[in-house]
């Protein structure tokens, strides 16, 4: 069981000067896909960094499973916005590092790396270095590096933000396939509303800074009622009335935040 729980979390930076997060209460159930959207600078990435153990709350607690987060670890794999692949390691070596750290035997490592490389469709690129790959390929390696650990929790920080539109769509469809086939607890940070609605079970909308949870939108029940899984392509899902309705609702909610920032 690997739920993520934000329990009355506050986070300030600069010795209390900048209030980044205010009273965040958020429960992400085991194997649930939660997306967080919000205006830029609202602290959504900070939420992910707290769950990852890169930062710690100023007050309140962040729990994964039933224990408080005290440090980063392979049970909570992170996919970074800027990929963060080791430039001096090949594709296979990048994917393999976490398994080596867990002392997985060599033969098993090989099999799992090969499986992960196959999953992201990069067969034949095992020996390539990151700088020889396109941005989309690099991000797939970063995702494989996280997936290969078979983590209970997957933390994704705008993982498709740096990709071009076509690649992004392919990656989103791939992620949906992976997430449905092998569900994990996912915390997905994005500023893309459509992406959030397409991928997530629930979407949390944050206010502008200091970030609070403004509203949580249930997508899963709508998705299942309207059988989005029958749509092969993202654009078919996006054409559905139920999708448009949810998207517009979230847009409007975010727009209020943006307008608020201007006044």
């Amino acid at each position: 069981m690997s739920s993520i729980r934000f329990d009355a979390v506050n986070k300030t930076f600069g010795g209390g000067q900048i209030k980044a997060l205010e009273d965040i209460d958020l429960d992400i159930a085991d194997k649930e896909f939660m997306a967080i959207v919000g205006p830029s600078g609202c602290g959504k990435t900070t939420c992910l960094r707290l769950a990852a153990g890169f930062e710690f709350p100023s007050s309140g607690r962040v729990l994964v499973g039933n224990s408080e987060v005290t440090q980063p670890g392979p049970d909570r794999a992170v996919v970074f916005q800027q990929f963060a692949l080791f430039p001096w390691k090949t594709v296979a070596e990048n994917i393999e590092l976490g398994l080596r750290n867990k002392n997985v035997p060599r033969a098993e490592r090989r099999a799992r790396v090969a499986e992960a490389v196959g999953m992201i469709g990069l067969d034949g690129y095992e020996g390539a270095y990151p700088h020889q790959l396109s941005g989309g390929m690099q991000q797939r390696v970063a995702i494989a590096r996280a997936y290969v650990l078979d983590p209970q929790v997957l933390l994704m920080d705008e993982p498709f933000g740096a990709l071009d539109a076509q690649t992004r769509v392919v990656m989103q469809e791939e992620l949906v396939r992976l997430a449905r086939r092998n569900p994990r607890t996912v915390l997905f940070i994005t500023h893309g509303v459509e992406e959030a609605v397409y991928l997530a079970d629930r979407v949390a909308i944050m206010t502008r800074r200091p970030g609070r949870i403004k509203e949580i939108v249930d997508v899963k029940s709508v998705r299942e009622a309207d059988h989005w899984e029958k749509c092969a392509r993202i654009e078919d899902v996006m054409d559905r009335e139920s999708f448009i309705h949810l998207r517009t609702h979230i847009w409007r909610s975010l727009r209020e935040e943006k307008n608020g920032a201007e006044h």
Partner: protein, 261 residues
């Protein structure tokens, strides 16, 4: 620019300089041979130093002696300097402990260590290695430290997230991450090694290129002075080129197309 074209330009520059030299000294006599030697004088001095020897040893012996000391001093410097820089870059405690010492040691010109070195170790090799060490380990430490500090933070976080144990983290993340800066430090250390070696040999030595230069100055022998200088230039450049070759073989991942190799 293609390598061939660059080589042609480089060689042309050198040939032009040589021609100017020849013109200014041998042909027009604008510069008197007592101040700066003619190419002929220099050649004679080079032959003399190579065949008969100068200052109790042939040019080859002087060169080998200097090369040996540079290699030893440089090796000691980087064996101490790079780990120290890694330690300071990865541990705040080490940084807090060592930084004040550095602040104090850095302003001392390396050559100011020469008297103490001679007092401790006499005119032998050890004194020179000590002086080279004091000059050359500083750039290694500083650049390694800076290199560690400027590793992309997401890379460090990725390594921690993947549960990388400390020694593997240093060996597979910190060292390669800092490698370009480490090599910058090594290059500066190598330069410092040559500079201080020649200076140290000038002050007191029984062999070596600095010793040869010192004797040639006492003998008022411009041709030999130039031979010594050219030898330092050539072997300084050769060792730097060797280090560059090692760097290109090692740090293969930062080079991109269009960047000068």
């Amino acid at each position: 620019m293609p390598l061939r074209r660059r080589s042609v330009i480089g060689l042309t520059t050198l040939a032009l300089l040589a021609a100017l030299w020849f013109l200014a000294t041998s042909v027009t006599g604008m510069i008197s041979p007592g101040r700066f030697p003619t190419p002929g004088d220099t050649w004679t001095a080079a032959v003399q130093a190579s065949v008969r020897g100068y200052g109790d040893a042939t040019l080859l012996i002087h060169v080998l002696q200097s090369l040996k000391l540079v290699a030893l001093g440089f090796a000691v410097s980087i064996l101490v300097g790079v780990p120290l820089g890694l330690l300071m870059g990865t541990s705040l405690t080490a940084e807090a402990l060592l930084n004040p010492v550095f602040m104090l040691l850095r302003p001392i010109p390396p050559l100011a260590w020469i008297p103490l070195a001679i007092l401790w170790f006499g005119l032998g090799d050890t004194a020179k290695i000590m002086v080279i060490f004091f000059a050359a380990f500083v750039p290694s430490v500083i650049n390694t430290h800076a290199g560690v500090r400027q590793i992309d933070r997401p890379l460090i976080e990725a390594a921690r997230m993947l549960g990388t144990p400390r020694w593997r983290f240093i060996g597979e993340v910190v060292v390669p991450g800092a490698a370009p800066m480490i090599f910058t430090g090594l290059r500066l250390s190598l330069q410092a090694s040559w500079t201080t070696l020649v200076a140290a040999e000038l002050v007191g030595a029984l062999a070596g290129l600095g010793h040869l230069l010192n004797l040639a100055q006492q003998d008022l022998y411009p041709g030999m002075i130039l031979v010594g200088m050219i030898a330092v230039a050539i072997f300084g450049a050769l060792t730097t080129a060797l280090l560059g070759a090692v760097e290109r073989r090692t740090v293969t991942w930062v080079r991109t197309a269009g960047e000068p190799a």
